[in-house]
């Protein structure tokens, strides 16, 4: 019979104390999966970006990217689309979600209506915009019937791409905002009301500060969606001009020109720009009140 000394627990015990036991084996497939299919390709792409197709210094691809305005400008082109789109989506969601918070008959129906555009997807949205906004489409017909002389040239244009980003991004922003708002304890607002705050001040001093961290997350997620804009920039935008976003540049480099290293370079820069923006937003968020949105979760 083995007797373990009480002072010295076995290795198994000590590991179990640090949460290491057989349950962790369940992590193996998942971790293997992200490492092999996400981390490895990303690192591979990173390494590829330092091996230019034509040889030269490891940073040749990066210097090409930043010295060629046709490539470097895509950063600004993308941000000029993604930031307004994300801002509009978040800002428009706030008043609508604010009015839809709480529980009332028909809420489910209204939310469903507002969420349905998710089903359109980027491709159908682009197709619809192309026809609806075309010089002979219904939109321009109505404007002309109302007294306009000439049809507006809306497709292809920067505006049309922005519209498509709003149509696909707004439902997400709205849903997120609504669920963050629903997470704020309603008694807080009631308490403020008993202290004499009207709805404006209740919103300004109670709801908004509690909602702000959630809004930061919402902004990030809608920004991600807008930042990766690809099909609509091609289909209703000007893919060689005003809406030549980074995805297009990356795709063309990798698959049209067959220059994988350059494609990877642009993808890496894209990820970095994206993470910088998110980091900035989250840094701002970390300075806010951190009690989540009213003690939910």
């Amino acid at each position: 019979m083995t007797v373990t000394a009480p002072e010295r627990p076995s290795l198994k015990h000590r590991l179990a104390e640090r949460g290491v036991d057989r349950t962790l084996l369940l992590l193996v497939p998942g971790v293997l999966f992200v490492v092999l299919l996400f981390a490895y390709p990303v690192l591979y792409g990173l390494q590829l970006s330092f091996q230019p197709a034509e040889g030269g210094s490891p940073f040749a691809n990066y210097s090409t990217f930043f010295s060629d305005p046709y490539l470097a400008d895509t950063i600004w082109t993308t941000l000029r689309l993604a930031i307004p789109a994300a801002l509009i989506n978040v800002l428009a969601s706030i008043p609508i979600a604010y009015r839809l918070r709480g529980r009332f008959r028909g809420k489910r129906f209204l939310t469903t209506i507002l969420v349905v555009p998710i089903t359109l997807g980027t491709v159908l949205t682009a197709e619809g915009l192309k026809q609806y906004l075309s010089p002979v489409g219904w939109f321009n017909r109505i404007l002309m019937a109302l007294g306009m002389d000439e049809p507006m040239r809306l497709v292809p244009s920067w505006t049309a791409v922005l519209f498509s980003l709003i149509i696909t991004g707004f439902p997400f922003a709205f849903l997120l905002t609504l669920s963050y708002l629903s997470g704020i304890d309603p008694t807080l607002e009631q308490a403020a009301a008993t202290l004499g705050a009207d709805w404006r001040r209740r919103f300004r001093y109670i709801t908004l500060p509690l909602l702000a961290p959630g809004l930061a997350i919402t902004f990030c997620l809608t920004f991600v969606l807008a930042f990766s804009v690809f099909p609509s920039a091609y289909l209703v935008g000007l893919p060689q001009g005003e809406t030549r976003v980074m995805s297009i540049a990356a795709y063309e480099a990798a698959f049209r020109d067959g220059d994988y290293p350059m494609g990877s370079t642009i993808a890496v820069i894209m990820a970095v720009v994206m993470l910088v923006v998110i980091a900035l937003v989250l840094a701002w968020r970390s300075r806010l009140y951190r009690g989540a949105t009213g003690g939910k979760g």
Binding site: T4, P6, R8, K12, H13, A16, E17
Partner: protein, 348 residues
């Protein structure tokens, strides 16, 4: 199929969480058929001890032997113990009947046999009429009884209960208490029962184990622990609400600020600081000054039916707790008396 045992030896069992030692060398032998209560304040390691026994927590030291065979190396499902959890932990997606039958089907008991034993268990806890309901449709007391039925239907060699009554209201708690004792006797179970309620432990158990900070303070029958607490902590826990800081003057008299008491010297002290412990119920109102009388000013009076719970202030500023049938009012200056055999003197 779970053969009863003669003796379960918990041999210097310890459990640490990182640096914090939640249970320190618990050494205890439980005989078959015994009802043992683990008693102690919140956080003293009662649940830890029970979970170690159940196999839900690995030990960091010591071993558990059943009739000489090690069981602490077995996983919980192989130990053949039953457990009743504090919040019941019923399976919310199964009916009462299927909850109770779960363990039997895990042990591949034949269907007819299973039905018979489930019926029997439900009858024992008087839930036959509720067999088809789901846990969420039952009251707290009923859920409690399902949890008990689920544990005893397996005829476990040892039943472990972790504060099974703490979520019930006072009346139901009394009722379920007798129920548990009745089941223990009729089924001939061996039970380890965790509670922080001394009254519950005294009422139910054959033997008490008092824990504090993971360390055993005293093991003994209810009478022993109640009448002869081993130290001031056990005393405090056993209803000795008056724990007055005093100094030894002789081997059996102590002096506090403004009073002198004679008592039973439990720790063999001869000098220095000590604690005089006595129960509120042992204090009476005295007519004349004499041995073991103290003067105190009544501050708070609580009505408890025939009795009053009184909190009075001693000259030194300590509170004196008294339970008395005499009618007192706040502001009264009263002379109180404690019999000397009821005053226990402990090391501080």
């Amino acid at each position: 199929m779970n053969t009863a045992f003669a003796e379960l030896h918990i041999d210097h069992v310890s459990r640490a969480f990182g640096e914090h030692i939640a249970l320190r060398e618990l050494d205890l032998t439980i005989k078959g058929g015994e009802f043992v209560a683990l008693l102690g304040p919140s956080g003293c390691g009662k649940s830890t001890a029970l979970n170690c026994l159940a196999g839900l927590l690995p030990l960091t030291g010591g071993q558990i032997l059943m009739d000489g065979k090690r069981v602490d190396t077995l996983p919980p499902e192989k130990r053949g113990f039953g457990m009743v959890f504090q919040n019941y932990a019923l399976f919310p997606h199964m009916s009462v009947r299927r909850n109770v039958a779960f363990g039997l089907s895990m042990r591949k008991v034949a269907r007819t046999e299973r039905e018979r034993r489930v019926d029997e268990a439900l009858r024992l806890v008087q839930l036959t009429d509720h067999a088809a309901k789901f846990p969420a449709q039952l009251s707290g007391g009923q859920q409690q009884r399902v949890a008990i039925a689920r544990a005893i239907v397996l005829e476990p060699r040892l039943v472990l209960m972790d504060e099974p009554l703490s979520n019930l209201d006072a009346a139901l708690r009394l009722e379920m208490r007798s129920e548990i004792r009745r089941l223990h006797q009729t089924l001939g179970l061996t039970t380890v029962y965790v509670t922080h309620d001394q009254e519950e432990a005294l009422a139910l158990a054959d033997r008490l184990v008092v824990l504090r900070d993971g360390l055993v303070q005293q093991i003994g029958s209810p009478e022993e622990v109640y009448a002869h607490p081993a130290n001031r902590y056990v005393a405090g826990f056993m209803g000795y609400r008056n724990l007055l800081p005093v100094a030894m003057s002789t081997s059996d008299t102590v002096t506090g600020e403004g009073f002198t008491l004679s008592g039973v010297n439990r720790d063999g002290l001869t000098e220095g600081a000590a604690v005089a412990a006595f129960r509120p119920t042992d204090v009476t109102v005295a007519d004349t000054e004499g041995e073991n009388t103290v003067r105190a000013a009544v501050e708070i009076v609580e009505y408890h039916g025939r009795e009053q719970a009184v909190e009075a202030r001693l000259p030194g500023g300590e509170a004196l707790h008294v339970r008395t049938e005499s009618r007192l009012a706040p502001g009264d200056e009263v002379l109180f008396h404690v019999p000397r055999e009821r005053v226990l003197v402990f090391a501080p």
